[in-house]
């Protein structure tokens, strides 16, 4: 998800405010028996003078180091990479590191966004300085405590592998020995960080800390939470977005053994039962008449026509260099094309779910959320409590992809509403069908581009009009992500096109309808990279030039784009490698979340079916924290993008979502999996995003390969709708 970086007005303000809020870094240690987690929560937002027992590190007497991670682990590896940042400077024994998820507290706020949230591929970039300082401050205090105990100068002591040694006297103390004393010391003010050349852990492949739990079934996801006296609830929601219950009859449903109660809640009818199966059985027996409202009129077939027409009209100007209209009129070689991409569900493997224990004066929530601060605020508002009275336990997330950072806290608010109605601890479970049909999709988009090249083949004009819903309109994010009517996430990757084009215009229409939309892995880039990079391929073809060379010539002012493009071309053997008969390469390059990724896809078309055999990725994400984590994320991002490119589509008829489960909303399966190679550009730049940037280039890379094979341009997704036979 977004937001990220400089495009967002006000980000600098957030940075400043959050730094002030934290009052410098708060580091502390305490032995578990002295109070545990609650202490961290109490002390968190207070200014530095009172020693706030901190938040990120706990060192036990047995030298176990618990790192409290303030980002949600949804597969992207933050339970490993973030502890690495602390451990590096702490000089910790990595084998004794444990991880715990953070409670909700201001001290755990994202350093850029001023709230606790995981998204925008920003966990490493936003924690890079912060957590290394946390680790370094802790190390200084531990050394200071040991030196004081020995009565020797700190400068004679050395910290390594969770031990402090004094070489001259041959003495040694473990971190656990001095943790308690260190916790009483005043925080150091000026903390020097290591230079990258001295890193022992950062930059080395490190195995994930969560793997043992995840291969034995012990890892606890939200759906795995069972608390005493808890009922399982399934909600019958309106088949049409925005619909309300007109009347319902639960007579038959109530007869199902195990059903404990049936309640009307704002989102529909809640069936509370002793378990999932009776709840589901009973839900199917409900008779509900819906007041469907305007949402019943939504049809994606109709929208497609409307969007295409709108794309031919001028929208709000997101970028204007030169005069594209005039340049198009005078150009000799022009090309124009329409593009369409559908609504997409996130379809995380774990369907949405929330456990709520609501009492008169407190509310405890267990869920896999990416957005703790906002969810807590909305849960409190719904429950009629103060945010401090709401506790959220963030479990492992069985995939997030943005869905679990819902900008209006949809699934959390509903669960609290259900808890209020039922009056007992509840777990709201979304079935796969509920999850697929629950909205908050990646928006459907239509684009129209007119472009022209000059005599030398270089583009002289580019006029791009984008049509699609704003994902931030009507959410708390609108205020700082939409400016002059332009949602930055709608045009990112299009208005920020890196190629040197003298006459360039990007326009935007943001129509509204009842279908809730939201960020989806790589956000606006998931659509703009497809449009921009397939059109660039058309221009290269029109110019009669090699697609890689053509792009490189236009990336003269964008060395990091050019760097990944060259690397992917070199590693794939672009232009040199002799491919099997019927195979072709396609290429695309894109920057998102401040990282640069080029992908070369080796593709064949067999009986009209696209097959992707191999994807060579080159990435420049600045300094590398965990190279194996980066490989995992690129592999994952490619597969996620490829699922959408080949198969993914949510359509609506009469306001109803057509797809429901994995048979008609189809993720990539094992037998379709390409080989994926990841090559990382060495860099000393600060680290940038890695969870999402691998997704945008895959669809255009595949489409461009298909053109080479078939002469057909794929301009709409999913590709398996195209007739290629």
């Amino acid at each position: 998800m977004k937001p990220t970086t400089a495009e967002i007005p006000g980000r600098r303000k957030f940075l400043k405010d959050s730094a002030a809020l934290m009052g410098g870094l708060v580091i502390g240690f305490y032995l578990p028996f002295k109070g545990g987690r609650a202490m961290a929560a109490e002390g968190a937002a207070k200014p530095a003078p009172v020693y706030p027992p901190n938040a990120f590190i706990r060192i036990a007497a047995d030298d176990t180091i618990t790192i409290v991670v303030n980002k949600s682990e949804m597969g992207q590896g933050v339970y490993t990479s973030l502890p690495m940042l602390i451990a590096e400077e702490l000089e910790a024994d990595w084998s004794r590191i444990r991880v715990e998820s953070a409670p909700v507290d201001a001290v755990y706020n994202h350093t850029g966004f001023g709230m606790q949230i995981t998204g925008g591929s920003s966990s490493i970039p936003s924690s890079w300085e912060q957590l290394r300082r946390v680790g370094a401050s802790a190390r200084i205090l531990l050394v200071r405590a040991a030196a004081a105990q020995w009565g020797v100068p700190e400068s004679e002591c050395r910290a390594e592998n969770s031990r402090i040694t004094h070489a001259a006297s041959g003495r040694m103390l473990s971190y656990g020995d001095v943790a308690d004393a260190a916790a009483r010391l005043t925080l150091p003010q000026d903390v020097a960080l290591k230079s990258p050349g001295d890193f022992k852990l950062i930059g080395k492949p490190v195995k994930r800390l969560d793997t043992p739990e995840k291969i034995t079934g012990r890892a606890q996801f939200g759906l795995d939470v069972y608390i005493p006296d808890m009922l399982t609830v399934l909600v019958a929601r309106s088949p049409v977005f925005g619909g309300k219950v007109k009347r319902f009859d639960a007579t038959e449903a109530r007869k199902v053994p195990g059903v404990q109660g049936i309640y009307q809640v704002p989102t529909g009818i809640a069936v509370a039962a002793s378990g999932f199966w009776p709840a589901k059985t009973a839900r199917e027996l409900l008779e509900i008449e819906w007041e469907e409202g305007a949402g019943a009129g939504v049809s994606t077939a109709r929208m497609r026509e409307d969007y295409r027409a709108l794309a031919r009209t001028p929208g709000l100007t997101a970028r204007k260099d030169g005069d594209a209209g005039a340049a198009l009129k005078s150009a000799q070689k022009t090309v124009s094309a329409e593009y369409e991409v559908p609504y997409l569900a996130h379809a995380a493997m774990e369907p949405l779910n929330v456990v709520v224990d609501l009492r008169a004066d407190r509310c405890t929530i267990w869920t896999g959320t990416q957005s703790q601060t906002m969810d807590r605020a909305m849960a409190a508002k719904t429950a009629g409590l103060k945010p401090e009275q709401v506790e959220i336990h963030t479990t492992f997330l069985g995939g997030g992809f943005g869905r679990r950072a819902n900008p209006v806290s949809d699934f959390v608010i509903e669960a609290v509403q259900v808890a209020k109605a039922v009056g007992k601890p509840i777990k709201v479970v979304w079935t796969r069908e509920d999850d697929t049909r629950g909205g908050h999709y990646r928006p459907m988009w239509a684009d129209y581009i007119e472009a022209a090249i000059g005599r030398d083949g270089r583009p002289v004009a580019w006029k791009h009009t984008i049509v699609g819903q704003s994902i931030t309109a009507g959410t708390p994010f609108e205020a700082f992500m939409t400016k002059d009517g332009i949602d930055v996430t709608s045009v990112e990757g299009a208005a920020t096109i890196p190629y040197s084009i003298p006459n360039l215009e990007v326009g935007l229409h943001s129509p509204k309808n009842q279908v809730p939309v939201q960020w989806w892995r790589s956000v606006g880039h998931s659509h703009t990279a497809f449009v921009v990079e397939t059109m660039m391929d058309e221009l290269a073809h029109l110019a009669g030039q090699d697609p890689v060379q053509y792009r490189l010539a236009l990336l003269d002012k964008s060395p990091r784009y050019a760097g990944v493009l060259r690397l992917a071309a070199e590693k794939s053997g672009w232009g040199k490698q002799v491919l099997p008969a019927g195979h072709a390469y396609g290429v695309a390059v894109h920057q998102s979340f401040d990282s640069y990724v080029a992908e070369v896809a080796e593709v064949s078309v067999e009986s009209g079916k696209i097959r992707v055999h191999r994807v060579v990725c080159a990435v420049d994400c600045g300094m590398v924290v965990n190279p194996d984590g980066i490989r995992q994320q690129l592999e994952s991002a490619v597969v996620y993008g490829l699922s959408a490119a080949l198969h993914g589509e949510i359509t609506l008829e009469n306001g109803r979502v057509v797809q429901s489960n994995f048979h008609d909303y189809v993720p990539l399966r094992f037998s379709e999996m390409p080989r994926i190679e990841v090559h990382i550009v060495p860099s000393e730049a600060p680290p940038t995003g890695i969870g999402e940037p691998g997704t945008p280039p895959i669809a255009p890379a595949v489409a461009n390969a298909v053109f080479r094979l078939t002469g057909k341009r794929l301009r709409s997704m999913p590709f398996d709708r195209a007739a290629l036979a």
Binding site: E73, M74, G75, Q76, G77, K207, R208, D210, T211, P212, K214, I215, T216, G217, R218, A219, Q220, F221, L223, D224, Y226, P257, G258, S274, G275, F276, W277, P278, A347, A348, M349, E350, P351, F396, L397, G398, G399, G400, F401, V429, T431, R432, D628, Q632, E635, S636, A637, V639, Y640, N661, F662, H663, P667, L668, R669, F670, S671, M673, R675, I676
Partner: protein, 156 residues
């Protein structure tokens, strides 16, 4: 009342005989390693072994499991084969979000039990029914091949 044998232990469960085994494991026994993903045998997250064969617990009525040995991810390490597969998974660092991995490991173990030396094509066929949205398929293949090599080594 259904009488079951789960991970080598006899258990009695008071559930409607049509209740899918998945929900008996999860809601009645709190064996949460077996996951719900789709409920219609499309994703394989609920894969368990019934007398050693991989089945989808979400569409297996508990009545069908009666009198048979049910093995879930929680009981997999009881066998040398299960341990070997889990070890291979650990070495390759397969999981990302991890939600599908119980099903992947159960399916892989059932494959290797029937076919200790599967070809790439056989692995793809056997694993095609188990979805992963994080894209861990290549690592799964590597882990299965490593486990097969390990087993071969052990037999020598």
């Amino acid at each position: 009342m259904s009488s079951l044998n789960i991970n080598g232990k006899p258990v009695k469960v008071d559930a409607d005989p049509n209740t899918p085994l998945l929900w008996v494991l999860r809601d009645h026994l709190h064996l949460t390693g077996t996951k719900y993903g789709c409920g219609i045998a499309q994703c394989g997250a609920c894969t368990v072994h019934l007398d050693g064969r991989a089945v989808r617990a979400c569409v297996t009525p508990v009545s069908m499991a009666s009198g048979k040995q049910v093995t879930t991810i929680e009981g997999l390490a009881e066998t040398a084969l299960g341990k070997t597969v889990q070890h291979a998974w650990q070495e390759v660092d397969v999981p990302q979000c991890g939600y599908c991995q119980s099903g992947q490991i159960m399916a892989a173990t059932a494959l290797l039990k029937e076919n200790p030396h599967p070809s790439e094509a056989q692995i793809a066929t056997a694993m095609d029914g188990i979805l992963c949205r994080c894209g861990t398929y290549n690592r799964i293949r590597t882990a299965i091949q490593n486990a097969a090599d390990e087993l071969k080594g052990g037999a020598k």
